[in-house]
Amino acid sequence: MRTVDWVVFVLFLAYVVWDGMRRHKGAQSLEGYFAGSRAIPWWAAGLSIMATQASAITIIGTTGQGHEHGMDFVQTYFGLPFAMVLLCLFLVPLYRSRALLTPYEYLEERFGAATRALATVIFLGSRCLALGVVIYAPAVALSAMIGFETWQSVLVIGALTTLYTVVGGVAAVIWTDVKQMTVILLGLFVIVFVLLRDLLPTHGFGELIDLAGAAGKLNALEATPEHAALWPRTAADAGAGIGEPSFWEEKYNVWSGLFGGLFLHLSYFGCDHSQAQRLLASKDVRQSRMSLLLSAFAKIPMQLVVLFIGVLMWLFYTVHGQPLLYKTAHVEAAKSPAVAAQVAELELRFDAALKNRTAQMQRLAALPEGPRSDAQALAHYQAAVLEVKAIRKQARTLVGSRRDASGRALDDDDTNDIFCRFVLDQMPPIVLGLIIAAIFAAAMSSIDSVLNALSGATVVDLYRRWVRPRCSEAHALLVGRVLTFVWGAVATAMALFFAGGGSVIEQVNKFGSYFYGSLLGVFVLALCVRRAGPWAGALGILGGMASVLAVHWTLKVEFLWYNVIGCLGVLLVGGVVATFERRRG
């Protein structure tokens, strides 16, 4: 990184910390600290909602997904606009008809303290786990980009974000998110510009689309399931490779996105306090709703752009040549004498495969009627694409550090390193600094909201409810600040110990999906099952979690469906218990 990039990057960090800390004046009461004195305009709350969801993972992991697997990941967001409308209609008025500080306060009004405590603990546990990942991802990027050790990057991100969140509360979170979102959008725009500037002189835009499509990268909506079997395989059968995969094992298709995604986003935006805090901090019910609708309109297009950047990166590497290994650790490991000969052999094969892919690409691009007009040229191009992919996988397995229980080497995925390598190698001065600032912005905007939300839920739903119910506002505020610091330290420690195998973005969604369905289910139970009382709420939420765990242990089902299973589990158990509660009453 050049000096000018360092200047841009450090200036941005200093501005964000200063901007967050100057909000301390509005954070002198519990409502000011955790709900922004209910004075946040809808557009700021809406941008903050988007910034929180657009973590560094969105930039690093999602572009990597686009490069490796195409655009299928966008299907996860298909349920989002519909979820936002449902939340506006049902949950927002519920929250704003009372002056809540956390959504879980409502659960006590409806079901009693046990359900509230359970929901709070689920939220704290799931968010804390995910937060470790959210800090870890940009730390990996930074260590690759500016030569920090990963633990040093984790400490910088964790410490700076915790500092301004402790001082400024939710107002600091939201107003820094607004600036961070601006930098993220600017960074994305610049990357698209640089990529197109490099690609368009050699290939027209239509040609690029054809080439990406012929490599299976434009799979934005897969309506026909790949597997028709509706009965899921057992986890044991799937592990042993017995039987045919079922529909439920497909990670991303339009159905899992619409239905699993609907439940995931209903829960994430409506019942996860790290997002719901914006609904509680807006000026009134209308502004809360409008803040959600901003995401409803903008999220899928934004996600499409991010994934398309990944596809453009893949095209860039296809046109200009591609490194065999993206991960710095892999490049270093490849120099080891133990594997040097095998790596050299792979490099020779890789060079030949790249030349073949370029030749096949040029042949395909020259077809006036598009790639489908010459089946043979298309087959050769696709075979060349697969060959490059296979050699890269062999190289990752050879130099990577992942091993199974028997010590056999596993594919050490580098999806999260592709973007970093591209930016580091290809971005001009100042732009590199801006993009690293954007990655940092994305990380901080997600971490700060979760820290404030974790602290808010701990103080309001646990400390003031169970430990010191009659404590003064000043005391609760002090505890809130201390807990923000403690959660920051815990999350940073978790990130330090986090072993980041696989795609980080998937891991975050997986963590959430284990718990989110149950969290959503208890709110749906409250809304829709009039008979449900304290036992139904508490046992329902436990039943929902038990059903997700049971499915996870016994059947092979992809994680997006866990949201549906958890929610239905709560409704089933809660509904049955509610019947007995009514009889007893």
Partner: protein, 79 residues
């Protein structure tokens, strides 16, 4: 529909409050101590009905567009 659900919520809350007042078992032991009851609620107002339909219509249109885009341009790699 929204009105009906809101109505149910209200009814449910009344039931829960009655349960607590009667001091019935679990509900009594877990009696509410929520802060929210002590704070004033903001005014409720909404004129966003058309915006909801706009969200649904634009999301549906986008999905149809992506479907067409995928069918037109994407050619899956052989497995």
């Amino acid at each position: 529909m929204a009105h009906r659900v809101r109505r149910r919520v209200l009814d449910g809350e009344i039931d829960a409050a009655l349960d607590r007042a009667r001091g019935s078992g679990f509900a009594c032991a877990m009696a509410t101590g929520s802060d929210s009851e002590r704070r004033p609620a903001p005014p409720m107002a909404d004129d966003l009905g058309r915006t909801y339909w706009l969200v649904i219509a634009s999301a549906t249109a986008l999905l149809l567009l992506l479907w067409w885009f995928t069918e037109r341009f994407n050619i899956p790699l052989p497995r």
